[in-house]
Symmetry: C2
Subunit: 500 residues, 2 copies
Amino acid sequence: MLRFPRLAFALLLAPLAPAAAETGRPNILLFLVDDLGWQDVSVPFHTEKTPFNARYHTPHLERLAARGLKFTQAYASAPVCTPTRTSLMTGQSPARTGITYWTLHKDRDQSAKHASVRAPKWNVNALQKDDVTLARLLQSAGYRTIHAGKAHLGARGTSGADPRNLGFDVNIAGHAAGGPGSFYGEHDFSAKHRGGGAVWDVPGLEAYHGSETFLTEALAREAALALDDAVEDEQPFFLHFAPYAVHAPIMANARYLERYAGLDEREAAYATMIETVDAALGALIARVEHHGLTDETIVIFTSDNGGLSAHARGGERHTHNAPLRSGKGSAYEGGVRVPQVLVWPGVTRSGTATAVPVVTHDLFPTVLAMANVATPEEYAPSVEGLDLGPLLRGDADALGERALFWHMPHFWGVHGPGIHPYSAIRKGEWKLLYFHAGTRFELYDLDADLGETRDVAGSRPEVVRALAAELGAWCEAARASMSIDTETGRAIELPHRVGR
Amino acid sequence: MLRFPRLAFALLLAPLAPAAAETGRPNILLFLVDDLGWQDVSVPFHTEKTPFNARYHTPHLERLAARGLKFTQAYASAPVCTPTRTSLMTGQSPARTGITYWTLHKDRDQSAKHASVRAPKWNVNALQKDDVTLARLLQSAGYRTIHAGKAHLGARGTSGADPRNLGFDVNIAGHAAGGPGSFYGEHDFSAKHRGGGAVWDVPGLEAYHGSETFLTEALAREAALALDDAVEDEQPFFLHFAPYAVHAPIMANARYLERYAGLDEREAAYATMIETVDAALGALIARVEHHGLTDETIVIFTSDNGGLSAHARGGERHTHNAPLRSGKGSAYEGGVRVPQVLVWPGVTRSGTATAVPVVTHDLFPTVLAMANVATPEEYAPSVEGLDLGPLLRGDADALGERALFWHMPHFWGVHGPGIHPYSAIRKGEWKLLYFHAGTRFELYDLDADLGETRDVAGSRPEVVRALAAELGAWCEAARASMSIDTETGRAIELPHRVGR
């Protein structure tokens, strides 16, 4: 191995040596957890420690945060899975890719039926074989690209269902479905124990069938082996670890249950799923340490949307992301704000936090820049995410007064606050929501009202007007397809045209 | 607790928020391990991973290094305990304090008898009640100052034997002696089980007497409780954790022995002592995490001199710090180069390393600056250490082409390479040693010859001349007392006067 001698020269030449990460091909360990809410960890992302931070136990994420940069205002590209996942892979917003909702079967729209609007035509098969992806660009640059866990990047029966068609050298248990049949090896990770369909059968983990292995643990073990292989072959790795958890079905990992005695049974089970994900983070970081690659490995931890709160949870609905309002599927903060931590050895400073709003598709240009991989010239104009590099290096003003946008012209099917087809813009303290049904606005000052309880659209018409104009211009630029009014059969107005 | 709301405002105001550490009164956890050699940990401080790094197991130090800055060329102020410890407390070199050797009894010189030179008059009682110390300055600024473990800062029967007379609010088990009677609670931490003197009885841990508690573990528990008290009282803390270990007597902690099966029995015992220190580091960091203070706590880990190698160890003598030559008590690198890691949340970058040479007494102005505590104006001219702040912030050139100096006009009593009364200078790649007996020079190019095997004094007279001049000027400025020639009864020549 040439690894240590290389570091050696760096030390002699450069008194404060940046890790090899900044100059070579750093390894990238990207944790994309499923449905993990902003409050679903013991690291505080709010301005104060909350009861949820006290309830959940994620010591490895705590350590990761102590090593690097915590994003207190990180957003998922969408409030449901597939759009966020495909935006990470493409650097584009869901509006631009046309992948605005979750996918499953070829050519089938999974949108739920809404009373007054329906979904427009959208990209129901999601990513396909020839699409440019983050994984493919890294693969072309010499990375061993490893996917482990939930893929949910392309529909069943299409090329995109297999991550190996999307730039991954290795696929561990990923396919078209957005959830596992079961988290238990005893169930063969299948839904058959409860009479569920074979579409949810987790593929490729037959070695664990019948054993007492929790799905997340099996994924971590297999991912560690794939990581070992890459190291042995002296290839840098991109490990996209997407552990199915903490997506439903909510099933306890008995190993961790004792700590959560006294909690509602389902909430206790949920807490064990979180702790299992954290243990997987710890195990993979330990593997990196074992290989002596800590200084050459970037670690990113984030989630694909807000925490589930509208159903299937214990306790009162829509409260599981408090102080944020609502949860997965919703336009409110609970649906899109996610935990995010990033460690870039030699670049990020230990124990720092930033409140600059960032979004999942920022990770596309960010990871490419960290890996010193160029975006193809013809593809660059499609990339909406920004390279967070300057922010990671400590320049808080690098991103300027950027607006972030969301667009989901779909009804998620479960009723709850903000769970409606919508478009939205966040800029500075303001967040303007444009609900497609009834073409109505809500405006919140997030600095003063993080919980989105006081709609000030009526009293601040000039803010509504300005943000609606910016949102409308973006919808046009991104060619966002608006919801269809079921009564007229025509697309609803763009936000800046409403009432004109 | 006002802690979180304060952080909250910081986040809102400053997008990339430096932790409270940089602006307020950060907590300081300073690990000053005893006799821990440069190779006595699993973190590599050499340019490559060594067999010693593979032998020892210090996962918590690995994690600390991953969070912050590793110093690959950190030096102790002296090759034995008391001078380094008192230099940390005063910011002065041992030559300037006159505390050039280890202390024990009031007015008694512990120097061993040498064939041709003897020790000059020196400060045999070490620090006393009215001396300015790092602890006292922090205490005056509102810190809860906690000492735990080996003090060895002032002689028995004098005020300096009690750390509470030197600026510590709390003293856990510290006194005049530089070693413990035993590391075992079953022995009451006393040497009486082997017929040793009461002077080695560790004071104040009676609650653990007769129990199966290893001394380092008892210290960690008591230190954690003292830390809890400070947090409860909303005082920032300075915890000076100096765990007696890994000083002799070398005694195994059975809890960890299994991992070291196959090693020489004494070496295995030594390895368990190291792992126990690392576990204490982990326990105290976990305590900090538990209080939610990770972002507001600076952690420094270092040692007071090189690793013991001249006696009492298994295997071949003088090889335990390889690739460095010799060990504790020696003028060679094995005697003075030590492991050092520093994490300043929001300032140091994760996983970085610096090869800039630094020395223990640099920590005096560094800690004060980090704590925003001014050095008294009349004391400032005495401070020889430099504030490492700019280096911690990433400016590798901040310290310029500084020379480091050592001066120990004492014989340590055990024979081995470089274990002689000496003065020395390190500048750039060069290290000039001036051995008092025979007033002779040795010159090494550390970049080309880290193991100090090729003395080039004969072939590079111009380098010898220049460095001897600089060393001599420093000896005069610091009023370094030179060894006495036993034949003439007069002090030996200063290095720049030799041969004139």
